[in-house]
Homo-oligomer: 192 residues x 2
DNA sequence: CGTTTACACTAGCGCTTGCTTGGTTGACCC
DNA sequence: GGGTCAACCAAGCAAGCGCTAGTGTAAACG
C-alpha cells in the first residue's frame, strides 16, 4: 500500500506526531487525533506509515539521530581538554533537549511502548550516543578531573541531564550553557 | 455504590495494581487485566475504586507516603553532620526504590496520566518529600561540603537518583548503600 | 495519448474499552 | 432468625479503537 521512505512530507508528519505524543502520551493519542493534527483523514495516515507503532519508531529515531549528530559536532569543535569535552557534551545534550524537545521526551517516556524489533534497532542508536558519553567520562577520570566508578558516574550524569526535561524552562533565565557549567562544576568540584 | 476507605483489602489490591501498571503501563492495563490479577471479575473492581483513575491515584499516594516516612526516619536516626544526612537521604531514597519499586516507577512514569485534581493533591505530598531534600542540600552547602546553585544542585541530584530505576539491578553486586556512597563522593569530591 | 504513481477520501468492520446494572452470597448483629 | 452489609458475579451497553477496502484525482512519465 505504501512505502517506508523518508520523504520531507513524512518528516513533517513525524514532527507533528511527536508534539501530540508529548501532550497526550502514545497510547492516548488516536490515529484520528494524529490525522486531524496533520490536516488529513485517519485513513490517509496509513499511506505514510505502516501502522501506529511505526510513527512512534520514526519519532524516536529522528530525535536520537539528531542528538548523535549534534554531540559529535560539539566534540569536534571544542578544545581537546577533558574539561572542555565534558562541558561540550553536557551543553550539546541540553541544547538538543531545547531544540528537539518533543522527540526526546517521547524517547524517554514511551520507549517501552516500542515493539521488540523496533526497540532492538533503536537501542543501537542510543548505545552509540551513550558510548560518546562514556568515552568523555573516561577521559575525565583519566585526567583526574573526576573520581569514582566509571559505570556509576556516567549513569548519574545521564540521570541528572535527562531529568532536566521535567523541570527545565527554556523561557527562564538559565541557558543550556549555564546548566552545563553548573553540572560540570558540581562533579569536578571547581567553581562555576 | 462503594466507599473510598483504606481497608486492608484495598491496600492489597493497590499493591497488585502497581505491579501491572509497571509491566504494561497505565493506559495498556485494562480493568479486566487488573481484575484477573486480583482474582475477581472486572465489575467487582468498581466496588473498591470509583474508577480506573482512582486506582492510579491510590498507587502513587501509597508509594509517596512511604517514601516520606522512610526518609524522615532515616534523618532522625543518622548523625547530625551534613555529610551523614546527605548520605542518609540518598540511601533512604534508593532503599525505597528497592522495597517499594513498583509504586515509585508508576509515580515517575505515569504522573501525567493523573487528572488535575489528583495531581494537585499528590503534588503536595511530593513537594513535602522534595523539601526534605532541599533542606539537606542547604545544610551541605552551608557546611561547604558542596558548592553551586541550590536549586540546580538539588534538581541534578534528584535526577541522578530517580534515573536509577532505569538501570539499577537489585540482584546485582551493588547495594543501595554503595550507590549512596558513590553519589555523595561524586558531588562532595571526597574518596568513596 | 494512455499509464503509472503519490496522496487523499469515504465508509465501515471487528474488536476492546471503561463502566453500569441488577442480583447473589455469606459473615456478622441484635 | 430476620436484617444488614461488604464483597462479589454475570451480562452487556455505548463509545471508541486501529486498521482496511475501494475509489477519486491530479501531476509525472513513456
Amino acid at each position: 500500500m505504501n512505502v517506508m521512505n523518508d520523504s520531507p512530507r513524512r518528516k513533517e508528519l513525524t514532527r507533528q506526531a511527536a508534539q501530540l505524543f508529548v501532550q497526550e502520551g502514545f497510547d492516548r493519542t488516536t490515529v484520528r487525533m494524529l490525522a486531524q493534527e496533520m490536516g488529513i483523514k485517519s485513513g490517509s495516515l496509513f499511506h505514510h506509515f505502516r501502522d501506529k507503532q511505526e510513527i512512534l519508531t520514526a519519532v524516536i529515531e529522528e530525535g536520537t539521530q539528531n542528538a548523535l549528530v549534534i554531540a559529535k559536532a560539539a566534540l569536534e569543535q571544542c578544545d581537546n581538554t577533558a574539561e572542555s569535552r565534558l562541558q561540550a557534551m553536557a551543553r550539546a545534550h541540553l541544547e538538543t533537549l531545547l531544540t528537539d524537545r518533543n522527540a526526546h521526551v517521547v524517547a524517554l517516556y514511551e520507549w517501552r511502548r516500542l515493539d521488540p524489533e523496533a526497540r532492538d534497532h533503536l537501542s543501537h542508536l542510543r548505545d552509540a550516543y551513550e558510548a560518546l558519553w562514556e568515552a568523555v567520562i573516561d577521559e575525565a577520570l583519566g585526567a583526574g578531573l573526576i573520581h569514582g566508578d566509571r559505570f556509576l558516574v556516567s549513569r548519574f550524569v545521564m540521570g541528572a541531564l535527562n531529568w532536566t526535561v521535567r523541570w527545565y524552562d527554556p523561557a527562564g533565565p538559565r541557558s543550556p550553557d549555564d546548566l552545563a557549567h553548573e553540572l560540570v562544576a558540581m562533579i569536578t568540584h571547581r567553581p562555576a
